[in-house]
Each structure stands twice: as structure tokens, then as C-alpha cells.
Symmetry: C2
Subunit: 151 residues, 2 copies
Amino acid sequence: MLTIGKLGEAAGVKVPTIRYYEQIGLLPEPERSAGNQRLYGSKALDRLAFIRHARDLGFPLEAIRDLLSLSDKPDQSCAAADIIAKEQLEAVKARIARLTALKAELERMITQCAQGTIADCRVIEVLSDHALCADDHRPKPGAGAESGATT
Amino acid sequence: MLTIGKLGEAAGVKVPTIRYYEQIGLLPEPERSAGNQRLYGSKALDRLAFIRHARDLGFPLEAIRDLLSLSDKPDQSCAAADIIAKEQLEAVKARIARLTALKAELERMITQCAQGTIADCRVIEVLSDHALCADDHRPKPGAGAESGATT
DNA sequence: CTAATGTCTCTAGCAACTATAGCTTCAAGG
DNA sequence: CCTTGAAGCTATAGTTGCTAGAGACATTAG
């Protein structure tokens, strides 16, 4: 039986984070010692490692919650898990594309900022001017109010 | 003169976000109409577009605050802006590397999850097992408690 | 037995917004 | 001129995924 500190050490997760996961229902309430301290078995360690990994891979906690509920009934089809993973993959690809554009932009900014004064420097300008921007996040002309998801 | 709604539309920023930026001091307090409504000129639009771009490029608001303070005094050296951009570039490169590893992991997971049942599916397994993980976030054996600054 | 560490609960804070409530102001139509 | 509906106002609370602190109790090493 592990105390919360040992568990956190074993899984690479901080102690308050474990309590947080319990609080939001990702981890079940563990046994308690005579003195009311949490005691965990190896199953809790597995589950926590799972969560830790999934978080490292960028899964939001809600997706992890779904994944865990799937793993709790292993006789079902894994199509649902597959879908979750694929959604994450798409999100990750989008993030990479975005960051790559961003990297080019920053490199250009740095190249053009050749130790002059800011008046000569385009760092500010690049960020102010839509026309210089590789990305097309400007409001489309005639698109009206886009009150939708900006995330 | 633009109302807050028009400004938001023009810059692609939601209205409450503009008020939030004002609240935290990224945007100056604008003029008000007779009826106490905010009125913005084109300088505010530039500034907001700047912020929007910088946010899109992943700059934290504090870095943007620095950048804005630089652009407010354009006779100084742009070395400081250069440093900020370089720091961001490093962070961006790191994020791309991390996401690329992550993408490989997810693709592997999806490949191995070949529409069987979860018992046959490695999505869960991949996330449970450290040994299958490309990343090395497990606690080093013999490293003891890493109670140091994790942030 | 004592001292130091670990754990307990609870609350508050971080970034960077977003959403709600309840009111006032503005612009356009009748 | 007046009404109506959208847009604006302030203020507060919620979101996500934790992290940090206070003050009290438990456990363990010496």
C-alpha cells in the first residue's frame, strides 16, 4: 500500500494533483488508514499512470474520463477509443501546422530586426499588419459577426 | 469612431475580451460617448490587432505587454524586442518537437487499434505502459524525490 | 518522547478568457 | 415622437488543469 506521496512519486504526479483527480472523479476514493490518510494499491498506480500519459499526450481530462470509462469495460468495441485518439490526432496536426507557420513568422521577425532601433525593426510591424501575416485569421470581408467557437 | 462591437469585429476579437484587455491594462481606457459607451479610434484597432496577432502566435500576454511597451517608445533599440521574439522562437520549436513526438504516438495507437474489442486494442495499453512510450517522463530509477522547482 | 516530515481539509490563486444577470443607451421604424 | 430590439454597461462567477497556502492531525526516525 502506497501513501499519496509515494504514489505521486511513482507516477510522476504531484500530490495535490492526485487529490484533484480524486475530487473531479478521475480517481476513485481510496482506502484510508486508521489516521484517515489515503492508501493506494497498484491498480491506482496504473490508473494514475494512464492519466499522466494521456495528459502528456495532450488529451483533455474529459477525453481521459471517456477513455477510462472504456477501459473499465474491456469487452466493448474499441471504436470509441479509436475515435477519441483520432480526434486528438487531428487537433495535434492542426497545432503543429499552426506552430510551424508561427516559427517562420518569428524567424522572419528576428532576421529583420537587425539590431537597429524599433523604428527600423519590423517585429512590431509584423505583428500589427495583417498583410504580412501568413495566417488568415482576419475577419472575412462580408462574413458578418462570427460569434462561433474561436478556440 | 468605432463602438466596441465594431472594433471587435474589425480585429476578430470578442467584445468581452476587449474589455478584459482594458481591465488588465493592455488597452488604454478609451473615450466614452455621452452615454458612457466606449469609442475607439484607429490606433486602438492597430493595437488590438497587434495583440490578436501576438496571441495567435502564442505570445503570452506578459510578453505582449513588453512588446507593446517597446512599441510605445520607438526610438529605443529593438534588441529587447529581438530577445523576446527569440525566446518565443525557442518555446515554439520545443512545442513543435513535443507535438511531433505526440503525433507519432497517436498514429501508432490508432494503427494498433484495428477495430477489435478493447481487450485487443492497444490504445489503452499504450497509455498505461511506460515501456511503450517514446517520451521519458517516468521517474528516474534511483533519482529519489524530485521535490525541486517543477514549474 | 520528541522532532521532523507527511498528510489532512479547505480556500484561494494562476492564465486567458467566457458567460451570466440586470440594467442603460443607441439606431431605426412606425 | 415613441417604441422596440440590438448592443452596450458593470460586476460577478465560471471554465480548465492544476498549484500554493494555512492550520491541524498522523506517522516515523532517532
